[in-house]
């Protein structure tokens, strides 16, 4: 009798163990690549905002896989760069361990690309690898030393609600005056969380230093003393900002404030602002303009890790991004600037962008940008 109970107990244990094992096997079985015979799955990591995620998942990737059916794509969106450090660590750790990495394309802030160049993490692009690269203006390629492919561009502009703003400011000084005269009706996002916020901050800095000093390759922390008048300007503006100096988390949060008419004016990305406007997410009275001197803008670059397991596919996708089909999507889906030279775009497109596509100011180089973000927290919102 006793041994019957013993066996019964063991059976229950065995059943429990079997269940765990089964679940494990199911789980492991569903991991890994679900590729049919002969298809290659490319893994794209795109850091940015949701309008760019939609550009890829709803426009780019379906068209690309239609054109090249031997490729499937796996899209990972990294919102506001959350998780970028993890991706960089993955690529670096794979290189150090001598493995391939399952990141085939990465669109991210130039800072990571810069950090990775001495470690040999990226593929250096050229016409032999990406034939369409000849259509891209040379200086935009040189800016990333040929390690990143600029496939679209955008700049930050001033978005304002013309229902409340009858005479929009045309210059940065006029903008500052307007903010002081209309307290609580303007804000910019925390520069850690979005480029539209970085644009306003750098505009304040560039006012006193000029745009070129900090956008080259050189980096000298001692030069940052020149930023002091910029910090003072921004700090003085704090009481006039929305909610007594609150800077929300991300580009979209600011657009939502504009939509809810909590603020009347803000610095916003041209492509994102136009996109939201076209989808009815902003008031009909919303308008956009570029001020003088212009706010920053940049080309967004995609980089291919040298350790990518699917180099051929990654380069094919890169090349496809420069085709007229893809570049038109950049214009139509997200109102971005093309990555290829404007002269390759139709006249109608060039006309449409007359108002906003004036020049844009250059971004500070990534090391300076990192310090700008840190010092903004210290000097402007950090308090005495």
């Amino acid at each position: 009798m006793r041994w019957v109970r013993w066996v019964k107990r063991k059976r229950r244990l065995a059943a429990a163990a079997g269940m765990v094992l089964a679940v494990l096997l199911v789980g492991i079985g569903t991991s890994g690549q679900a590729g049919a015979q002969g298809t290659v799955t490319l893994n794209l990591y795109i850091s940015g905002d949701t309008n760019i995620f939609d550009l890829y998942t709803k426009a780019f990737l379906p068209a690309f896989t239609k054109r090249y059916p031997q490729f499937k794509t796996n899209f990972v969106g990294l919102l506001h760069g959350n998780g970028d450090d993890g991706v960089y660590d993955k690529i670096l750790a794979a290189k150090r361990a001598g493995h391939t990495v399952d990141v085939d394309l990465w669109e991210t802030e130039p800072g990571y690309v810069d950090e990775g160049i001495p470690e040999g993490l990226w593929v250096k692009l050229s016409a032999s690898l990406v034939p369409n690269i000849v259509k891209v203006p040379v200086q935009t390629l040189e800016a990333a030393q040929y390690y990143g492919l600029p496939y679209r561009g955008s700049s930050v502009v001033i978005g304002y609600n013309s229902q409340f703003v009858k005479n929009p400011p045309q210059t940065f000084d006029e903008l500052v005056a307007w903010i002081k005269a209309n307290p609580g009706k303007f804000t910019y996002c925390d520069p850690n969380t979005g480029g539209s916020g970085q644009a306003f901050v750098t505009a304040a800095i560039y006012k006193f230093t000029g745009p070129d000093k900090f956008s080259g390759k050189a980096y000298d922390p001692n030069e940052e003393a020149a930023w002091a008048p910029g910090w003072k300007l921004l700090k003085d503006l704090q009481p006039a900002m929305y909610n007594n100096g609150f800077h929300p988390n991300g580009n979209v949060a600011v657009l939502q404030l504009l939509a809810q008419q909590n603020i009347w004016m803000a610095s916003v990305w041209s492509d994102q602002g136009l996109d939201f406007y076209n989808r009815g997410q902003l008031p009909k009275t919303m308008k956009f303009e570029q001020i003088t001197p212009p706010l920053i803008g940049d080309d967004s670059r995609v980089t291919v890790p040298a350790g990518s397991a699917h180099l051929e596919g990654a380069l094919t996708l890169l090349n496809w991004l420069l085709t007229p089909e893809a570049q038109n999507m950049v214009i139509n889906e997200v109102a971005g600037y093309p990555g290829i030279d404007w002269k390759y775009m139709p006249e109608s497109v060039r006309a449409r962008f007359k108002d906003v596509a004036k020049a844009f100011a250059p971004y500070p180089n990534p090391k300076y940008l990192a310090d700008i973000k840190r010092l903004w927290h210290e000097q402007v919102v950090g308090g005495q």
Partner: protein, 275 residues
Amino acid sequence: MSAAPWYWAVGGMRRALGLGAFLAIAAFILGPLFTLLVWAFAGSWLFPNLLPEFSLKWWSYVLSNADVGKAIRISFISAPVATLLSALICIPAAYAFARLEFPARRALLLSFLSANAFPKIGLYVSIATLFYRLNLMDTFTGVVLIQMVNTLLFMIWIPTGTFRGINRNLEEAARDVGAGPLRTFFHITLPIALPGLIIAALFAFLAAFDEAQGTLIVGTPNHITMPVMMYTLVLSYPQPVGAVFSVLLSLPSLVFLIVAQRYLRAGYLAAGYTL
């Protein structure tokens, strides 16, 4: 069990106070969730309207997202597995901590605090490098391991307290009539400890389920869990989208809550914490 709330002898006013306090607590706990629920059905909601214009359009927007279903599936498989495995290795260890004397027992018990005390940000590169060497990146096993790390604290400390609270006399009596140690454990100790262990498993599951920063590195691109996806949807889409997603993701948890009520009621933990 003492029946009358004896120290609330002054009935009326105290009872009214109690009701008021209860309503305040209920409003505090349910208010935010209710707000989110309303947002999920809001087409557009502007101040100072108390209620929005209702619409279901954001539901189709979210539900048409294929990644959502995938993330849900992965979370609801990996977290239970992590909890189960954690229970398998931690409960025997907890029993050892509670009943057996061995060198450095106290120090080892304390060391499990360290799992939660050191901020994981400082550990990323090392964990990633280790996982690469062991071929654990972007594997189900890797995700489970990362989630298990979050469960260790709960699966050791709560069961240890539970086991410690069980009267030794019960176990010794069983031994005295000839039962072996395993039999004593399964027939005497475990049934008494079960409610406490279930509580531990509950907290462990929730810790594994909520894990985001580690699973982002280890699980991408094919094993994205719900918390990782939640950041994206909640931060950068219009409010209703985040609300819809929140409702979708809370539903299974709330089912879990109803099921777990039986074990959560304080009465079941009676045996767990006697000194």
